[in-house]
Point group: C2
Chain length 304, copies 2
């Protein structure tokens, strides 16, 4: 079993390049005997002479020439490796693995775009799933970070809110309530609500709200995408409750209106979530900081 040292290879490489022990010693800031010893050890390890002294000149043996090729190649690899790791250390390179819940898909790409713009060279893998799937990915350590509206209670999880997530009641523009203000919550009992599937964060927030106000509402169609609800509301099938962030386009183009109901918007928060104790890559860490410090501001700006 060959027990060589990187040090030995390195010293050998220098000697082979200079064809001189003394020059190599100079280059490596060593004394000449130190170099002699390293070479001797290397030769002993390998069991072949690598260099030969003929007269004043030092020559490589055939084995030496062979080893020289390998040692240069290995040195190159180590150097490449160092560069690669240095890049990872900084922000020049790196991959951000992130999952977001369906609703967050309306703003997360925008934030990611900003982030990537700032840190060229960072690549992003964005996965959009429902809350349950995102939690599983967290548990399986498949992602660095997640964005969701309702972090799990799990002790194994770190979460921090970074942006408000106002839930609003949306209606088609021709809905009678659109003209009213300070609509009492009880008034909504007469309406039909199109809702997300149970298990959805939005759905449970909604239910908690109405339960707190002791109002029973009528549920119409139940679906697992916010998009479907928006379409249905536009078609006059009922009202919807959803994150303000998901309907900005429809508001701008007056396809939907927000009802001015008392107690609304329900203020929830967006959370950035990761497994506790997870050693975040520098990229993941940077994105987390980015969310905490700049996301809210950026979203406000983009509304203008």
């Amino acid at each position: 079993m060959l027990h060589l040292t990187l040090r030995q290879l390195k010293v050998f490489e220098s000697v082979a390049r200079h064809l001189s022990y003394s020059r190599a010693a100079d280059e490596l800031h060593l004394t000449q005997p130190a170099v002699s010893m390293q070479i001797k050890q290397l030769e002993d390890n390998i069991g072949l002479p690598l260099l030969e002294q003929l007269g004043k000149r030092t020559h490589l043996t055939e084995a030496g020439r062979e080893l020289y090729q390998y040692s240069r190649s290995i040195a190159q690899q180590l150097s490449d490796m160092e560069v690669a790791l240095d890049e990872l250390k900084g922000m020049e390179r790196g991959k951000l693995n992130i999952s977001v819940v369906t609703t967050a898909n309306y703003f997360a790409p925008h934030l990611l775009a900003k982030f990537c713009q700032r840190y060229q060279g960072v690549t992003v893998s964005l996965n959009v799933s429902n809350r349950e799937a995102v939690l599983k990915q967290l548990a399986d350590n498949l992602i660095d970070l997640a964005i969701m509206g309702q972090p799990p209670e799990n002790l194994d999880i770190d979460s921090e809110s970074f942006m408000e997530n106002p839930l609003v009641v949306v209606a088609p523009p021709d809905h009678p309530l659109c003209k009213e203000r300070f609509i009492p919550v009880k008034r909504l009992a007469k309406e039909i609500f199109l809702v997300r599937e149970s298990g959805s964060g939005t759905r449970s927030a909604m239910e908690r709200f109405f339960a707190a106000h002791k109002v029973a509402i009528n549920k119409g169609m139940e679906t697992d995408t916010t998009e479907a609800i928006k379409q249905a509301v536009q078609a006059g099938m009922g009202l919807g409750i959803m994150s303000l962030h998901t309907v900005e386009l429809e508001l701008e183009t007056s396809r939907l209106k927000i009802l001015n109901v008392q107690g609304f918007p329900i203020v929830r928060y967006w959370y950035v979530v990761n497994r506790k104790n997870k050693r975040l890559s520098s990229v993941a860490n940077a994105f987390r900081e980015f969310l905490l410090t700049e996301a809210e501001k950026l979203m406000l700006e983009s509304k203008k």
Copy 2:
């Protein structure tokens, strides 16, 4: 400056492959803390976490995945290198650099062929030059071995004879002396001799011989190849003195005859020569031994 150890890489490779410190410890016949420490040192050297513990499972970080690629590649190279050097150690591979003087070209290829046949995988570089050029190549350490009829006096040179080198007098088959036996040396004074250039080993051996017998001979054409002399002798321009080994074909086909002169053949020797202190490669060493032990026998066999 990255100061990693091959040991660290090796241990890391094992951990990364098993995704378990304990399994790696088993594989390497170490205790688990020993593995932990190697990994820790590696991480400290690099400045990045390579592995992360989440719950019960051990995962690679991005940096870990990157390093894993490199460490496998480096391990592969080291393994290749070991194979290559082992081959050199044995006779499975290797290169023999040899130069022979012009005259030796009549038998050296035959011996080299035998040698190569025995050691498949050995490659040979054969150079044929005059004595002076061969000596220069020795001095410049461009060759492992040389074959010549007259080794230099130089103290820096090791030489050993391995085969007789009989010099004979050749004549065209129709020459009157062909029928005579025990021709006295003095009789040759009446003939014309075609000779090699001065400086040639054959030439000087010849001159020493005639000087010793106090016979002055007539020199005809002087040339620097034995081949030219053979042609000229066949053409009836005179007699020649040359190594028996160079005229075997012509004798067999009766294009030339050997004269039965008293004192002939002059017995010289072929020498295998190398720089003193040169560390011969295993191949070169093997060929040297081959010459010393088997060359003479093989040449006799080939004559039959």
